[in-house]
């Protein structure tokens, strides 16, 4: 079939536009599946969509995001990949689509978690307050009386040998004297 006059005019324009915006493919967010995790924390991935024009990628680093977090995803799990500067050679994982195996938050000085929370910072699904250095604790003695013996001084008669029972009618109180110096709550 012969080209119409419009087609003869438009087809070169179409090629020019395609050439000029070749990096458009690298401006989106693409879904990949994790094939394997490397020792350095990078992953090897394959695109999940048949329509994705991108190849499998190896040694893909993770963009930590503003929170300084990295993770170890599970093999076979989905992740999202973006290309930095629209450059096909600069790809990073920007997100995971399911629960990761290991999540790591780190910083060179301070990791602050929940400075604004009005309810609670919950660690590992816990429901009890974390104890801190300086917090009070209570020590309970055996219920009832406890056999004891010893020497009483200087109460009269001094030096007497005591044999009998001791009863504490209230528990002892204490304070936690040490703690993790780099975990503050």
């Amino acid at each position: 079939m012969s080209e119409s006059p419009i087609d003869r005019f438009m087809n070169p324009i179409r090629r020019i536009i395609r050439d000029e915006v070749a990096q458009l493919t690298y401006l989106g967010t693409w879904e990949y599946a994790v094939n394997s995790v490397n020792d350095d924390g990078t992953v090897n991935v394959t695109a999940t969509s048949p329509s994705c024009p991108l190849p499998s990628l190896n040694n893909v680093a993770q963009a930590s995001g503003t929170e300084g977090g990295t993770s170890t995803p599970g093999v076979g799990k989905m992740c999202n990949v973006r290309f930095i500067n629209g450059d096909p050679t600069r790809y990073v994982v920007v997100g995971n689509q399911s629960l990761v195996k290991v999540a790591t938050i780190d910083a060179s000085e301070t990791v602050a978690i929940g400075a604004s929370v009005s309810n609670a910072v919950v660690l590992a699904g816990g429901d009890a307050p974390v104890a801190r250095m300086g917090d009070a604790c209570t020590v309970y003695f055996p219920i009832g009386t406890t056999p004891c013996f010893g020497t009483i001084t200087p109460l009269p008669p001094a030096g007497g040998a005591f044999v009998g029972n001791i009863t504490f009618t209230s528990p002892a109180v204490g304070v936690i004297g040490t703690g993790a110096p780099k975990v503050l709550a």
Binding site: D106, T110, V130, T145, G174, G177
Partner: protein, 175 residues
């Protein structure tokens, strides 16, 4: 050039570009405002400025690299990305404000190996752990028995505190 022909060419070029790059709209990040949140954790939102996209419903919160998700605040803004440049696959990639922030993993979460970690608004005192030292102050004890063979009742005051250790802790929270 005949104006009618010029107009036809312009229309054709515009149609060509739209036809060639339907994914262009879905290649960037868009700002929406949350209108409501759903029970399954997804949100519904409308664009914050005139854009070529409709309101979106049931938008899931994409977990970032860390594995974190959040329950955002209604009325706050969030950013949406389209996966694979597909207009039907969208996800929240960033929320302006969160009511609940969750970081989770199937094996472990490691926080601050290189840093001081501050938990909660106070964040001032070291966290106590199993094995940490405690100082115990005794109450007065009541003595009842015999002293040199005679009945005796008295009080025992232990003036110096003794020390102990924390013997249990949260099994899955280590510091």
């Amino acid at each position: 050039m005949n104006p009618a022909v010029a107009d036809q060419i312009a229309v054709s070029i515009r149609a060509l570009i739209r036809d060639e790059f339907p994914q262009l709209t879905y290649s960037t990040t868009w700002e929406y405002a949350i209108t409501s949140a759903n029970a399954d954790g997804t949100v519904n939102g409308v664009a914050t400025s005139p854009i070529p996209l409709p309101p979106l419903n049931n938008v899931p919160i994409a977990s970032l690299v860390l594995g974190g998700v959040c329950a955002p605040v209604i009325g706050s803004n969030f950013l949406v990305d389209f996966i694979n440049q597909d207009g039907a696959r969208y996800a929240v990639i960033s929320a302006e404000a969160a009511r609940v922030a969750t970081v989770d993993a199937s094996e472990s979460i490691e926080v601050g190996e290189s840093a001081t970690v501050k938990l909660g608004p106070e964040g001032a005192q070291p966290v106590g752990r199993e094995g940490d030292k405690v100082t115990v102050f005794f109450p007065v004890g009541i003595l009842t028995g015999t002293l040199n063979g005679s009945p005796y009742t008295g009080r025992l005051s232990i003036l110096s505190p003794t020390s102990g250790i924390v013997t249990s802790g949260a099994e899955r929270v280590h510091a």
